[in-house]
Amino acid sequence: MPKQDSSNTKDNKLSSRRDFLRSAGNYTVASLSGAAMLLSDQKPAKANVTWEEHFQKNYRLMTDEEKQQAIERLETRYSEEYGKQVTVDGSPSMEGVLFGYALNIQKCIGCRRCVKACVAENNQSRGDEQQIEWIRVLRMEKGKFSETDRDQHGYPESFGVQVGGNAYKPAGVVLEGQHYYEPEQVPEKDAFYFPMQCMQCEKPPCVKVCPVRTTYRDPDGIVVIDYNWCIGCRMCIGACPYWARRFNWGEPNLPKEEMNPVTHYLGNRPRMKGVVEKCTFCVQRTRKGRWTACVEVCPVGARKFGNLLDPNSEIRKVLAKKKVFRLRADLNTYPKFFYYMD
């Protein structure tokens, strides 16, 4: 019995090994054919992604040589795809620079030129099917703060600090921000405008939640994304309190003739389906010393940008001389994007 038992066991072992080999063989064939299918797929966006690009490391963990190889791969692929010489820059942070941004909400006229300039610069998807804009401009109602609201009818126990409104009456502003305003002419008399984009937080909630650490904060203060490493889980979109991040639900639509060929690996290089993107302070420009596209286009000069570590920079002068606030400072995200008034 024990003999039989052992032979049985042996047979079992043999059969299981055979099964294993058979199934392993099947898997190999299947995976090879899968890879072959991947490589022979006729869709250009998929077919052109090389094997190496599929299996490259997280950008932060790459050696300089690997980074250079990744950049060259992309340059070749993009140049072929868009029919022009595309450059992909990999410039790291500049020494002694911390970028800061200030926006004068008293001056902003809500013309949305910054939104469109950003799209022209940063290769976002456009068109009816999938439109991605990194800047949103909210039209806000001007409040009505009357004397009676402020003084006579505060909270019943008269505690708490508030301006306008009370426990029984809402404050002056009761209309929430409007995204889709479209008057003939701006600025309108009874409105002010509030542009929002990525605040490049010092403690970014999006970086905290990213499960694959593809989004991180560079030493010059810019929160960047390695699109190749992004798995599209959209945790960062949920975590961002400033609604700054956008997701490519479909294949981005970027017409060849509108594509900006001057790109950065962590910035405006063409994105793919299933990745998150957001404002990078035009990293491809600012790390070369050029102002961002939105700063340059603003027709009223409401946008200021510079090095926070340079005491003579215009951003530092704004912080020193103007009335400045940060959006949702209570969240302790320490944005590097400031709003100010004259």
Binding site: C111, G172, Q178, T286, P299
Partner: protein, 266 residues
């Protein structure tokens, strides 16, 4: 039926003609198109190719405003000296000359040659305001000056003799290309803020020592109507760029025009 059948080739031809002649979305050729940088009509630029892959500007197809500069320094001249030494002194500063914009219909050239050459038209002896008798058509906002709340008039800013120049408090002429020297006479605080870079606009390189194109006062403000009525913003109203697309399935944006909660007036 026969009549309709005969029309079918014609209809097909028209359809083909329509398909071939209509501009394909997003591929319209912008070459030679004229756009405005800041004030519509007073800061015009033509689109041109710098090299096969780079245009000098990209324009908005809806409003005609410049959205993007391929070369921020195209068509600029050195700004000239500032009145005090400061951070900007070591930087290359350029401005876009205003004279070509003002001389678009050859007004400056013809006026200064034909009549205002310093001899032909009698030079006014005083700067006291008087009503204009001529040129009401060429200077449409002259009779409706909204600047200085009635305390200034033409010859406080324009040169008495040389109509192609502005004038400072001491009677020296100022070029139209450097209006900041004139405006700064009264608006000192704004002038200082502009010099520091916290008022107005500059494009080009943000870094210290980098080349910058400074925008001068009259590129953004209309000197004959700086107040712009009640809005008091200093800017003429503009047509905004189109709103973002509505989310799929949403037919209008009425929801965001609703007042939530009781209104203070109710």
């Amino acid at each position: 039926m026969t009549r309709y059948r005969n029309h079918q080739p014609l209809f097909g031809f028209c359809l083909l003609l329509f398909l071939f002649t209509r501009p394909v979305l997003g591929t319209e050729n912008q070459a030679d198109k004229e756009c405005f940088e800041s004030r519509d009509g007073m800061s015009q630029v033509k689109v041109r190719q710098i090299n096969p892959e780079l245009v000098n500007i990209k324009c908005s197809s809806t409003t005609g405003g410049v959205l993007w500069w391929g070369d921020p320094f195209a068509g600029t001249i050195p700004m000239g000296d500032m009145d005090i030494e400061a951070d900007y002194s070591n930087e290359e500063a350029v401005v876009k000359p205003r004279e070509p914009q003002l001389d678009r219909n050859k007004m400056l050239t013809i006026c200064s040659m034909a009549c205002h050459d310093g001899n032909y038209v009698p030079i006014p002896h005083t700067k006291n305001p008087r009503s204009l008798k001529m040129h009401l058509d060429t200077v449409p906002d002259a009779m409706n000056l909204k600047h200085g709340k009635g305390n200034i008039w033409c010859l406080d800013c324009h040169h008495l003799v040389d109509r192609t120049k502005l004038i400072d408090n001491f009677g020296y002429s100022i070029s139209f290309n450097q209006p900041q020297k004139l405006c700064g006479k009264c608006h000192g605080q704004v002038y200082r803020a502009w010099r520091d870079g916290i008022h107005g606009k500059r494009i080009g390189m943000w870094d210290k020592g980098g080349k910058k194109r400074w925008w001068v006062c009259t590129e953004c403000h209309n000197p004959h109507d700086v107040e712009q009525e009640e809005r008091n913003s200093g800017f003429a109203q503009l047509r905004p760029e189109p709103a973002p697309n509505l989310p799929k399935g949403m037919v209008n944006a009425d929801h965001e025009r609703m007042h939530h909660g009781a209104h203070p007036d109710e």
